[in-house]
Assembly symmetry: D2
Homo-oligomer: 507 residues x 4
Amino acid sequence: MASSESVKTVISKEETGLTHECGVFGCVATGEWPTQIDVAQVICLGLVALQHRGQESAGIVTSEGNNAKAFRVHKGMGMISNVFSDDSMKKLRGNLGIGHTRYSTSAASEEVNCQPFVVHTAHGALAVAHNGEIVNCGSLRKMVLGRGVGLSTHSDSELITQALCLNPPEGEVNGPDWPARIKHLMQLAPLSYSLVIMQKDRIYGVRDPYGNRPLCIGKIVPLKLTNGNKNEDEMEEGWVISSESCGFLSIGARYEREVAPGEIVEMTKDGIKTIGIVERPNAKPQAFCIFEYVYFARSDSIFEGQMVYSVRMQCGRVLAREAHVNADIVSSVPESGTAAAHGFSRESKIPFAEVLCKNRYVGRTFIQPSTRLRQLGVAKKFGALSENVLGKKLVLVDDSIVRGNTIGPIIKLLRDAGAKEVHVRVASPPLLYPCYMGINIPTREELIANKLDPLKLAKHVGADSLAYLSVEGLVQAVRYRIAEKNASKVGHCTACLTGNYPEKLEW
Amino acid sequence: MASSESVKTVISKEETGLTHECGVFGCVATGEWPTQIDVAQVICLGLVALQHRGQESAGIVTSEGNNAKAFRVHKGMGMISNVFSDDSMKKLRGNLGIGHTRYSTSAASEEVNCQPFVVHTAHGALAVAHNGEIVNCGSLRKMVLGRGVGLSTHSDSELITQALCLNPPEGEVNGPDWPARIKHLMQLAPLSYSLVIMQKDRIYGVRDPYGNRPLCIGKIVPLKLTNGNKNEDEMEEGWVISSESCGFLSIGARYEREVAPGEIVEMTKDGIKTIGIVERPNAKPQAFCIFEYVYFARSDSIFEGQMVYSVRMQCGRVLAREAHVNADIVSSVPESGTAAAHGFSRESKIPFAEVLCKNRYVGRTFIQPSTRLRQLGVAKKFGALSENVLGKKLVLVDDSIVRGNTIGPIIKLLRDAGAKEVHVRVASPPLLYPCYMGINIPTREELIANKLDPLKLAKHVGADSLAYLSVEGLVQAVRYRIAEKNASKVGHCTACLTGNYPEKLEW
Amino acid sequence: MASSESVKTVISKEETGLTHECGVFGCVATGEWPTQIDVAQVICLGLVALQHRGQESAGIVTSEGNNAKAFRVHKGMGMISNVFSDDSMKKLRGNLGIGHTRYSTSAASEEVNCQPFVVHTAHGALAVAHNGEIVNCGSLRKMVLGRGVGLSTHSDSELITQALCLNPPEGEVNGPDWPARIKHLMQLAPLSYSLVIMQKDRIYGVRDPYGNRPLCIGKIVPLKLTNGNKNEDEMEEGWVISSESCGFLSIGARYEREVAPGEIVEMTKDGIKTIGIVERPNAKPQAFCIFEYVYFARSDSIFEGQMVYSVRMQCGRVLAREAHVNADIVSSVPESGTAAAHGFSRESKIPFAEVLCKNRYVGRTFIQPSTRLRQLGVAKKFGALSENVLGKKLVLVDDSIVRGNTIGPIIKLLRDAGAKEVHVRVASPPLLYPCYMGINIPTREELIANKLDPLKLAKHVGADSLAYLSVEGLVQAVRYRIAEKNASKVGHCTACLTGNYPEKLEW
Amino acid sequence: MASSESVKTVISKEETGLTHECGVFGCVATGEWPTQIDVAQVICLGLVALQHRGQESAGIVTSEGNNAKAFRVHKGMGMISNVFSDDSMKKLRGNLGIGHTRYSTSAASEEVNCQPFVVHTAHGALAVAHNGEIVNCGSLRKMVLGRGVGLSTHSDSELITQALCLNPPEGEVNGPDWPARIKHLMQLAPLSYSLVIMQKDRIYGVRDPYGNRPLCIGKIVPLKLTNGNKNEDEMEEGWVISSESCGFLSIGARYEREVAPGEIVEMTKDGIKTIGIVERPNAKPQAFCIFEYVYFARSDSIFEGQMVYSVRMQCGRVLAREAHVNADIVSSVPESGTAAAHGFSRESKIPFAEVLCKNRYVGRTFIQPSTRLRQLGVAKKFGALSENVLGKKLVLVDDSIVRGNTIGPIIKLLRDAGAKEVHVRVASPPLLYPCYMGINIPTREELIANKLDPLKLAKHVGADSLAYLSVEGLVQAVRYRIAEKNASKVGHCTACLTGNYPEKLEW
């Protein structure tokens, strides 16, 4: 067959509303060679833990550390479990490696776009994995083409790769000075990316100066099979770098810290060190994507010293104060709204109860529903727990409303099951603006909040009432656990809620 | 390629411990021809709601009602979303049809075993879908072979189909009298099955005399697109019959009732009626599988007039009384233990909190873990919500323990995340005996409860304590909501817990 | 995916005109157990040599000889090289086995129809492979259904299998007397089939009483690795039975003889023997399909003591006498007409020269040609050897004309390449009637000879002249090498040419 | 699944001995827009006719002629019939396009290497298809990498593409002057390639200065549907450019001429013109690959004004003079040796007869043969026409002997069938040296002629005698039809036979 037919079990955009671009992961084994840790397996499990960030394609590239030509590559369309097998894992030998899991923001869902990108350069092999979207990709692309390079794709990631290969202007960089090349690129393109870049014997981890996309570091420590006391000065066995920390425990890694905005770290078999920090232009504030807290990240990940689940619960607490309602039970759309619902319940003292049973086998909408079934409009992804619902006034909490086409059928289902009242509480503010930094937000016309105010939306979806969390409430919840002394250092991008973009856009 | 390579996203047996055989579904459109309801779509959505009962293969057979030869068949290996497409749905025209979703109990996971079985008989086409396992299949098989029939498979379902085709002994049945043939079969094989059997213009729904496997009836009513008052004597648009009621709302059907043990119902375009009830031999008691409540059924399904979720919560309440523990929070292994955990929390007054985040993208264990990762033994399917766990004494509730190899890594994960104590509470009794009625329970040697008592098991899995629900407690919870007057009518099979089988086995 | 997507490299019917149903093959290892010969490999290579008889599906079933339950089966859609792999071959252990390669005559090209058919019977496992078509399948089918058997397919082969399983009427057959069952079947259905039927420890080879389809026997003898003298009383290592003898040399087998019309042979580890011969009803003449000589068989096969290639050459010789033409060269449509062209050349003394180069990579017509390309009407399957053609008067020989839609474009190609005259000579008589004995001949309306006489057909296809071999000429060529004393014993079915069918048809 | 599983029906290297790299094809529609000819279909059929030059992957790129961004691309692994479908053809709209069919010389048989290569450049989109191998690719690659370009593959074709994109050194080329860029490349790399290079509105056809690989031009003329007289001033409808002329008739094109060594032609909707000729360095002689005549090209292709089939016949004639033998018949290994065998027969007056029947369904050796079958050593790809062989002295002609492992089993087969003597005659000289210009010749160690002289080889393969054509004989046959006046202009590369390479190699 001509093109690879990947197994499509991704959840359709129609249902999720938002999609996120990518997850990146890197691992270096330290100490003597050969290493004790299986780098490719660590990366594979690390990617499995980042699978929620992209299910379209995946790839791993490894290096044995001493031979620039010997990168081993395995990439493919589909989920990680479809892309990798025992056979492919065996081939991915190496002492260091990087991986990527991807959700395309464009239509170009093709094998050629699978990451990491690998190229042969005048200074050895180079592999690049990227999460984010280059805001000024137009001018960067023009520069690269103008230098006589042919580009195979429209991907930002190929663009970054070739930009790194280019010989920098006279005087700026000499020879294969990759850190200088990376800094040069960061000055040309300040937003938005987290990158892991591999050479034969090292990995660079790079976060854009605004800190828009997440990136953090973990340390793999030796197994304590006995119940012995902790050894304070134990040697690490390796280092990992990842978009999120959620998979660290499952690979035996300990969360260390975030990569700072603008920071370049270098990981080798001798350890990890910071080799430079690129400042934001004009001392602009940090701009970490606030929707990582609301929607994208896995709830056990840690950003800015706090667990995402706790922030979501706090959003629910603030929401309960901002938009109180008299009800019998607080419930959630599982699983996206459950953390906030627990927070709402605790703050409001209204007991929490499950009201929906999720059919975990429903994937994409694979058949065109008949007219009758479409009119029926019941969410086939959920069943109602009728005995919990019958005759009750419900608060129904969800994390966000994007197009507004999933909550209506859920409300209908609950009413069919006997709910007396259904009050929708949304644990984030209305989505009003597009994102150009790596999030695939629908067009303004598709965002329901641009068409209907909460009152009309409540009527439209069949709710007795509907309220959003305020932007101030969200920011307050996000900063709740950040110590006073650090508060001035953080900064969040709320562009999709407020239209305040960190940088003026090119378009 | 030689054999169809189905997409294997099923959860491996290693992880689930128990597997259930099948889900069956049928639908007849009533009223004028052509019908308004799309029978194949209703069946497809009905099967999606039964997907938890089997992910190995699926099939739908439809009939236009007036032509015995024109059965339309589509079957295949894999999940429903992989088996059916818009194209295949279009071909499944008809006014009635049956469907099946399957988990094989044997190794014979091949396309030839996909159900429904369809055969041409002397009296027209016949299609059969089956959930259960014929306890005396050996003698039935011998009888069928002895009549000069060649059997293509070892499947009980082919056996049932050919047994129905056989000309009955003189005097018993004349010509194509299918009800008499079905009754004859039920006398030959009293246990265990729920069957949907289709002829050109009718569907027979059959539940074995012991009522071991579930089967229930729903009525499809016209859409009320306006907010008008309910019309008491509205005409139905069709009838459905299903292993479970969980999908009824999503197809616009109203739950009507269960098929009684031993009952044969006939569904035609003129409606539904009971055409016979076969008694249990020797007035033995009913034996509805109690593990449907504990484990198999979707929590929004209704058996014996009560919602499965409510029974599970009640199990948690009884468990809290039977096996109290001082703890800071009650939590669950999501999602299997959550209903019971809420019950435990309410009864014990210990607050409920989520402690585990489930990675919904983890399927089968697709790569052989390295030695280090195996020793690490952390559940890669879960992440720990560290801020909810740190320094806490936890009650961790799960629905059952089969092999005991999944709870250990979860406990380790929680300890790594800082849990102070972890007390495991299992909302069902220890599994001690095999099932011969359609449930794929591991061998006695594999059942951990046959090897380790709770004290030793607690130590083995790293728990501070471990307790099961008692058999009496389970029966009490299951009967909690059944009205006194009906209590004598119900009866449950607890063979896997007690060794008391409803019928003496052939082997 | 739902159904197996077989690799479709079969040549489309549109292009070939005729299609043949099947090839059957069987092999028994003799001597001590374990045997030295690899039965599955012998069968696989045997089927490869029969691949021209059917490319739709293939299958092999083996038995270890001592256990009725242990048949090993591998079947699949597609060519043999797609169906079998090293892995599947390893599983096909056994001391005897049968195989099948199939071209469906009906539209039901599905995996369920792959042969050999295997069933479990009251007397052990049974496998059946069939080439041919049961002329009176309607009445046979009615009988089988009437005995209470459900049939899964419309296949003659399943019908034969179940008919063999049925307990014969009282007095005729006792118990598992398979030879008696086979004879009984042959009396019920005298036409047309070659069958290989396997039980646990023996293979029956059966040819219908008319001898309509071919079947022959070969002996596998020990390898002579040294150049020693032939040992007259060498022991055989095994026996093979096959639709054609063409593959015998490549598996180390020596051609022995044909199975006689109506003969049943039994092959066991002790050797081969005739166990019965069923006579034709009413002493009718033999009716071996004459088109096996003309079209179907591989040219190195032997029927009735003569090589097919020699018969085809002889057809060319007779044709040269019947339809002389003055020309510069005799050429052929490769490869189907080449043997006859050489015969034509020798008889006419006109030199043979190749004029067409075949593109062996052209399979099915995979793209709809544009209007221009369709009007162009050039055979993309062939190129013209222009220097051999330029300015020449050609005789162009082909083996047959069915629909008449391939010869026209070839003539156009030759004219475009500069041919002065093109005289078509067809080495078989006009096809006028359908076949009901296993050959998929187009409907009478599609057969060009029913629409156009040779003069009009010549004009239609752009030839300067066109002539067929006469029926008498064909019969003469077929009998040319058969010794006088044997001439009365042979008999050929010419129904598709003359309308004289061996039996009155049921329809 | 991770990587595309292409349908592998290619003939294995083991069996063919030699493999050729690629076929290239281009088409431009002339006249008014929209054009009447379907460019993609013409290319697809053109590639089908070049399929013998590579079966590993195929691709087509089209352009609508007025939009540099709108290249349409379809590429994939496998044969053309597997890569292209009606759907993919419909998407390949355009007024011009290029295509490629590939056989990799390296192990890198991956989708990423499928051609044509397409890149976005500073001067619009660019597509490149390449046949050949850059002899000095090492230095060219170093230059490209040194300019700051990252290369994704080790493919010469990507290298050529990026080399064309590079801004040339000052003073040499200005802006998007593609002809100048092409000339510059040709000076950097004089050997070996035939290229078709597409920009938005034009195709460049390029043949290396040595003329090592073939490339020719055809003119598509309007259809004459009526039998009218030829119109002398008919307008062309388009132009095609192709590695070989063999497919021209089947797409309605007329052979025009070869592209001259070193010539660059430009094809636009206004027609075709030569825009430059690059001379060979140091006035070295032409070096057209002589093995195109012997082995690679389809026999109906035309090189240097003569049909390949005629040259092969002439080789047979010369061989008959050089290596006479007394025999009863001349025969060939079909189909590779048939042309030469006819020549041998005519020259020697010994009659030609077919002795082998080819099984056209045998592809790769898909199963490991058992010890017995391996010892048997019979060619399963062929059957012997026993009646033509029995008791005869044969001359057996083949085109070449590479590893010498296929002729032995054929001889054994013929002896088993009764041949009295078998004299092998090879219509080309012994292969002694590797090729670095695009032909995948085995290593010197694998070439049997380096290990065994004819006498020993005859014994090794079981022949009664064995003789090769001499190098002088081959050159004489190749030049036989070239007019005296043109003889000085031609020149052939015989490096694989003589070790005389056209250029000194880098390695």
